[in-house]
Amino acid sequence: MLVENHQGVLARISGLFSGRGYNLDSITVGITTDPSVSRITLACIGDDAVVEQIKKQLNRLIDVIKVNDLTGVPALHRELLLLKVSARGRQRGEIFQVADVFEAQVMDVGHDAMTLELTGTPEKIDDFVALLLPYGIVEIARSGVVSMERSRKSKE
């Protein structure tokens, strides 16, 4: 969704979810090339009726300019992961291999831990984290998903 870049808009939207008991999985916000407009990506869970109601409630907010429902629509979904995992000696090699397969970057190596960066779909990140869980996760930071509709492929 596109919203006015006013103070308190994010508070208003998260307040809407908490106040009405809707399930908010993740929320990301960032500026666009228009300094007066911010872009918010919300991931929420609910059946059709609930999602319909959520969209209507969001549209009703004065600061919300446009709501785009990307459920079931061809779209790109991306999330950023920073993961600090326990790693000593031989383990480092194993972890490098997993990172290779996923095309994750090793951003930092320390005496007994290393930090990896991965950008991908939330599902890809889920899988990556699951594979590294046995080594011991020291810290995990996920950004939440940002999404964008894919372009039409043919002329019509």
């Binding site: 208003r12 307040g15 009726a49 549209n59 907010l61 004065i62 600061d63 300019i65």
Partner: protein
């Protein structure tokens, strides 16, 4: 020319056609009060509690259709408006509430009388603003009024820091307003409207279900024209009362938890429910899984979020009630429903409203009927609970916007200040607050406002010495365990008393003496024969409020009643 923020604010109010403000001062808003000093174009009414200011602005707005305006200070002044804001928000009332705020460099520092009122009021306002820059003040005020009165109306709060009020600048007041994220739809889709007309023409058992949206949109005349043409039985929600005259031949009454037998049965039996300006609130629908089981639903509402929210809708129409009804009229055909009309008439005849007995004290329903007969053109406000239900059911209304009640939030203490606001907005009409003895005490301090502003508001207290509606629930569902509801008890009473007609302490306060202490008129009525003379006395008073203390039966109940979890056809004591 340079104006301070306070001066620009006053100019903005005048440009919006405001001639009345309800307010209470404080440190940070003195600049505005100073700009209003001696101002002839705007009347400032000083209340005695900020909650009273918001309810008064609310009563003014509901009864006139104009935007109600309040002015309060920061901190506790602002937080005292929250209940009033929530009341207005729930019932879609156009208000602009101006709160002062500490200077910008003090915000967030736990300053004296600082409150994050924008954060606190976010969920109970249609929108709110903190004016962080003097150059935004003009635009924000214009937007606030526009948002308050347009689309589905609602309260807008504008928080203005003190140093913005004192800062001078030459920024003019904008002429127009444009908000890209806000574009209410007023005209219904023509195809949908035609579809609705067709469905109505073919229906065998149609019912119109009208709500507050028709009062808000000024659609009473349009609806009366529709009914005159199609002659379809009509039910209303609490908020839809007075759109049709209460005794209209096709009127079946209020539906819901305390709705009439005929209204509830008609909805449960109908094959087409044509709903306009209502949101299918739980007090009206009862258990949703049992609601209108045979009906296709047409739903006209200005708020898309209300449509298909609680009830599945076959023909949704987003639009303003009056405009949609006007567009609908030419396409209407009278359905062939003589048998259905006979059925609804029979329900009315065989199950009229219960006339509650007085059993040695007064009957509350007889009192309300007497007031209705004595003051047929009054604007009636209510408090909440049994008083509210008796007023809704037993008063006969003839003009729209005549019944002002806190329907959505159910705020005790609403009626008296709302009556004050309604009286100021309608000086030529009689205004009556039908109250309970519990509710009236919640904003009793506004007696001072009514007396000093010389307002002949009549307060009819249905005094049963209980918080009546809760007591009724305790009687019906909790085996008369009257816990925490008796207003006559004192510290000497046993903790588990259910003897309302025993040896009770005298009632505190003596409402007659209390009214007189404020300089108002007070009359106590204990017997039937005293009702008419008391009302005649009240009518003669034209420059101060009148408190009528009606001593009603302590265990009088409101019937019919639909228990929680039941369908609206499962009424008790219909």
């Amino acid at each position: 020319m340079k104006l301070t923020g306070a001066q620009l604010l006053v100019e903005a109010l005048k440009a919006e056609g405001v001639d009345l403000i309800f307010g209470f001062p404080g440190g940070v808003v003195i600049p505005i009060f100073d700009a209003l000093y001696g101002e002839r174009a705007i009347r400032l009414v000083l209340v005695r509690h900020e909650q009273g200011a918001v309810h008064a602005a609310d009563g003014y707005a509901r009864s006139t259709g104009k935007v109600g305006v309040c002015l309060v200070t920061s901190g506790p002044g602002a937080t005292n408006t929250v209940t009033g804001l929530a009341t207005a928000n729930f019932d879609s009332v156009p208000l602009v509430v101006l709160t002062g705020q500490v200077s910008r460099n003090m915000i967030g520092n736990d300053a004296f009388q600082e409150a994050d009122i924008v954060g606190i009021s976010r969920s109970v306002t249609k929108h709110n603003y903190l004016v962080a820059d003097r150059k935004d003040l003009g635009r924000v005020l214009r937007e606030a009024f526009y948002i308050a009165r347009s689309g589905r109306p609602g309260p807008v709060l504008v928080d203005v820091p003190k140093d913005v009020l004192t800062e001078a600048s030459a920024d003019p007041l904008p002429e127009s307003v444009s908000i890209r994220g806000y574009n209410p739809v007023y005209r219904g889709h023509p195809l949908q409207i035609r579809k609705a007309a067709q469905a109505l023409a073919k229906a065998k058992k149609p019912v119109f279900y009208i709500g507050g949206g028709l009062n808000i949109s000024g659609a009473a005349e349009a609806f009366r024209a529709v009914i005159a043409k199609v002659n379809v039985p009509t039910v209303w929600s609490l908020m839809g009362i007075s759109v049709l005259p209460s005794d209209h031949p096709r009127g079946l009454g209020m539906i819901g938890m305390h709705g009439t037998f005929a209204a509830n049965m008609a909805v449960q039996d109908c094959d087409l429910l044509f709903a306009v300006g209502t949101r299918f609130d739980d007090r009206a629908t009862g258990d949703l899984t049992k609601f209108a089981p045979h009906a296709a639903v047409i739903h006209v509402d200005i708020d898309p979020a209300s449509i298909s929210r609680n009830v599945a809708v076959e023909v949704p129409i987003v639009g303003d009630a009056r405009l949609v009804l006007e567009d609908l009229l030419p396409h209407l055909q009278t359905p062939a429903i003589d048998d259905w009309i006979s059925q609804t008439e029979e329900w009315k005849r065989t199950h009229p409203l219960v006339e509650v007995e007085g059993r040695g004290r007064l009957s509350p329903t007889a009192v309300v009927r007497a007031i209705s007969e004595a003051f047929p053109d009054a604007i009636v406000t209510t408090e909440v609970g049994q008083n509210q239900m008796w007023a809704a059911l037993y008063y006969t209304f003839r003009q729209p916007r005549s019944f002002l009640t806190s329907g959505g939030l159910g705020t005790m203490g609403y009626g008296f200040p709302a009556a004050i606001g309604a009286q100021l907005g309608n000086p030529g009409r009689r205004v009556i607050d039908i109250a309970g003895d519990g509710s009236i005490q919640m904003n009793i301090q506004e007696l001072a406002t009514a007396v000093t502003e010389r307002l002949p508001v009549i307060v009819a207290i249905l005094n049963n010495g209980y918080l009546g509606m809760v007591r009724q629930w305790q009687e019906v569902f909790f085996k008369r365990r009257y816990s925490g509801v008796c207003l006559e008890r004192n510290a000497g009473c046993p903790p588990d008393c259910a003897e309302p007609n025993g040896d009770c302490p005298p009632y505190v306060p003596d409402f007659v003496k209390l009214a007189q202490a404020y300089g108002a008129v007070g009359i106590r009525i204990e017997r039937d024969a005293e009702i008419a003379p008391a009302l005649a006395e009240a009518r003669k008073v034209t420059d101060r409020p009148v408190f009528l203390d009606f001593q009603i039966d302590r265990e009088a109940n409101v019937w019919p009643m639909v228990p929680a979890g039941a369908g609206i056809h499962e009424m008790m004591n219909a």
